[in-house]
């Protein structure tokens, strides 16, 4: 089982620990065996340990340590935002965030909706069972 996601310049990664938890960053340079220089459009370029990064499938085409403007253009060209939000990993994170921000009233409304949905499913199932039996 070979590795598929490599640490390289242009690899998009997700920060999984620390102040920038949950942010998507791009690796723009390698400092040493443990650390990389990372950058994002809304962040000051800084160093991070690889242990804080989870690599994603997305890679963009940049040179070593690009200027901020170049980085932003390259991210637009590769359409990182949309690719991330349509990937299953990205979608899961979005759903988690939405669930965490639910109001008590929202949770109640969701409960009602789930019960309704379950009821409809059971109706259809009963119908199909009846057709099958006859």
């Amino acid at each position: 089982m070979p590795f598929k996601r490599y640490v390289e310049i242009g690899r998009v990664a997700l920060v999984n620990y620390g102040k920038d938890y949950g942010r998507l960053v791009v690796i723009v340079d390698i400092i040493d065996q443990n650390r990389a220089l990372v950058d994002a459009p809304d962040m000051v370029r800084s160093q991070m340990n690889f242990k804080r990064l989870s690599l994603t499938d997305i890679k963009i085409d940049i040179n070593r340590v690009p200027k901020k403007k170049t980085l932003i253009d390259a991210m637009e060209k590769a359409d990182v935002k949309n690719k991330w939000e349509n990937s299953s990993w990205g979608r899961k994170l979005i759903v988690q965030k939405r669930r965490a921000a639910l109001n008590d009233f929202d949770r109640f409304k969701i409960m009602l909706a789930k019960i309704k949905k379950g009821g409809l499913i059971r109706q259809e199932l009963a119908k199909l069972k009846k057709e099958n039996a006859s």
Binding site: A100, L102, D104, F105, F108, K109
Partner: protein, 232 residues
Amino acid sequence: MAPKSLRTSRNPDLIRGVGKFSRSKMYHKRGLWAIKAKNGGVFPKHEAKPAVTDAAVTKQPKFYPADDVKKPLVNKRKHKPTKLRESITTGTVLILLAGRFMGKRVVFLKQLPSGLLLVTGPFKINGVPLRRVNQSYVIATSTKVDIFGVNVEKFDDKYFAKEVAEKKKKGEGEFFEAEKEEKKVLPDNKKDDQKTVDTPLIKSIEGVADLKPYLSARFSLKSGMKPHELVF
């Protein structure tokens, strides 16, 4: 001619204990020469006030306590009502955490002068009447109900005071009889107050989808819910 009370001294301090002006200078500054001149060269003499003899005015009390009792010091501080949490505003839906209505979702009306919160179910929706509740026993949700047209001016802590029943002297025979249980009936004016407060509320509640069943249901923690992570 009332002088300014606590009038500052006309003799400023150079150093503590040493004034700027000498005795003769102060005599002139205070105008004592003018008082003397007005009174013909001498200071005015006042007659001694007649001493009020207490014995003639008050009678000796017939009972003294055995030891001298110290009087407590005067305390004129007035309590302010408890500071209301920022998340609690008029019309906020609150979750009651303790008591008979534990878990019920109720509508907040106003804070009473004692600091307690005035709250109502509304009664027709979840059975909670106009009631006082302490801020500490309440979770404030971010759901708000429109309190337009609800007048809660007349409610204060005296409205909720317990009725003092007249004490009847019990005879011996009555102890053995079955006690006549007097049911405490809620007076009609309180029922009417409940209705006047609730009708505009119920109207605005029915305007929002699912709000009525939300208020009828009780809140409970289910499996997997972490209160410190929940957003209310």
